[in-house]
Amino acid sequence: MNAKVFGVELTDELRGIVREPTALFFSIVMPVAFFALFVSLFGKFSSGGLSAGTTMVATFGAFGVVSVVLMNPGIGVAADRERGWLRAKQVSAVPIGVTLAAKVIAALPYAAGVLLAMTATAAATGALDAPVPALLRILAVLMVGALPFALLSLAIGFQTGAGAATAVLNAILIPSAVLSGLWMPLEIMPAFFGDVAPFLPTYHLAQLALAQLTGAPVLTHVLVLLGTTIVAAALAAVSYRHARS
């Protein structure tokens, strides 16, 4: 029963993306354009045996994924509420968990789109030198690691208007990205950034992705991201139940 319901919920979400592909396109263009700029400037530098273009697939990739899954689901549900459609979902017999799961899974095409575009860009500039299995692991880590950010996005979207959601989510995204070293490595930033970074889930996502190249230990990052997912899921569920209609 719930599998069928999940099926129609997910199908509806995916139809929303396929039938209005401009939103998908433009939300991918911005982070990828940034990435192209950075990678063409710094991509050939190397440290610790890895080219910057390669590590950037992990760090800037984390930024790309977080930016699309943090913005899109939240703005989408905020627009649904303004349109008066969210109320129809809220009175339906669909359990909260199923609705949220469908919305979060429907954010993954955004994540996949941005990662593929970035990887292709890095390869095109000749700055990419990593074994294919490691690259695939990075992609997998970033896709799965995107989930808590999609949930956080929903939690905010259920409470704000579409315009406010854009502003609030950007206000979370940009500082987290900079402080976590997603744009530029923490080594070249003020020391203060490095002190703050470990408190941000974005940092742990990037480190987890990097670890696929360096073989660094991953347990802390995995635990932090798991914890974030649980907290974000609870926030999203409470926010949905108390969404203003």
Binding site: R87, V91, A93
Partner: protein, 296 residues
């Protein structure tokens, strides 16, 4: 009769604005209850409590014995909401089929309901692009396809043309005969009185009166004086024996128990009075009278 909706002592405030001040309401299986009242009376607020959109902070709301805030309880509910918007990316047939699956019905349930509501030709259209009345029919189809135990309809007739409205009341009668309980808000009081088993009049968040349409009519003015007059509403309201004043554009409708005395005064006050008739009062006059009396 099995109770499909039970509301006890429901209250709700929006910030400092009181919207419901302690409402009791029951709907039985196979019973149709019309919830009437002027704009801002609290009808939609009550509906939102019943369908689980608002939490019942005070009082108790039970749908088929369950809390409507729980998804499992809402399996029993079919809802038409006031001013619902549809997404631009979904088609009519997808929405009705989706509503069937979400309610645990087979996908094939969608076809017959769409035919019943004259939506078959619109199946492939994007929902957001429909006209107001078409959207209303779509909402109704999504509610009916769930084969609910309780139908909650907030102004379902808004924007419907005359044939669609007839069809709508007919559908309610059919569903009621199959044991579905119905709670319907509407401003089409006369139309609802033909179908409603019971009428509940709400004003300022309170139940002013409740009973069969005949009972309510009997409690209030039994004659309506209809005329074209130059006299203003304020003047008319204070004429002797006037219980209610309603304006339908060209004519005024005055509810009264003493039509003869009223006619004498009217003719004296307005020599230009024309198109005069006296009719038995209907539910509309009765409700208008109740609300006016309740407000006084």
């Amino acid at each position: 009769m099995e109770t499909v909706l039970e509301v006890r002592g429901a209250r709700h405030n929006y910030g400092a604005t009181p919207a419901l001040a302690g409402v009791d309401l029951d709907v039985g299986a196979g019973e149709c209850v019309a919830l009437l009242g002027p704009n801002g009376a609290g009808k939609t607020t009550l509906v939102n409590l019943v369908v689980g959109l608002l939490p019942a902070k005070e009082g108790r709301v039970r749908v088929c014995g369950g809390d409507p805030r729980l998804a499992s309880t809402r399996r029993r509910l079919g809802v038409v909401q006031q001013s619902l918007g549809f997404p631009n990316t979904l088609k009519v047939v997808e929405l009705v089929t989706g509503a069937a699956v979400r309610a645990g019905m087979p996908r094939s349930a969608a076809g017959p309901v769409m035919a019943e509501l004259d939506l078959t030709d619109l199946a492939g259209r994007r929902a957001a692009k429909l006209s107001g009345g078409q959207r209303q029919r779509l909402q109704l189809a999504m509610a009916l396809v769930a084969d609910p135990r309780l139908l909650v309809l907030d102004e379902p007739t808004a924007g419907l043309d005359v044939p669609a409205r007839k069809r709508f009341w007919q559908l309610l009668v059919e569903r009621r005969a199959r044991g579905t309980g119905v709670l319907v808000t509407t401003h089409l009081i006369e139309e609802s009185s033909a179908v409603a088993d019971r009428v509940v009049v709400l004003n300022h968040g309170r139940v002013l009166a409740s009973g069969t349409p005949d009972e309510l009519v009997a409690r209030l003015p039994d004659r309506t004086v209809i005329a074209r007059t130059a006299l203003g509403r304020d003047r008319l309201a204070v004429l002797p024996g006037v219980v209610s004043v309603r304006n339908d554009g060209e004519h005024v409708h005055l509810g009264t128990r003493t039509p003869e005395a009223l006619l004498r005064v009217l003719l004296a006050e307005d020599p230009g009075l024309s198109d005069l008739r006296v009719e038995g009062a209907g539910l509309e006059e009765a409700v208008a009278g109740l609300i006016e009396r309740g407000a006084a």
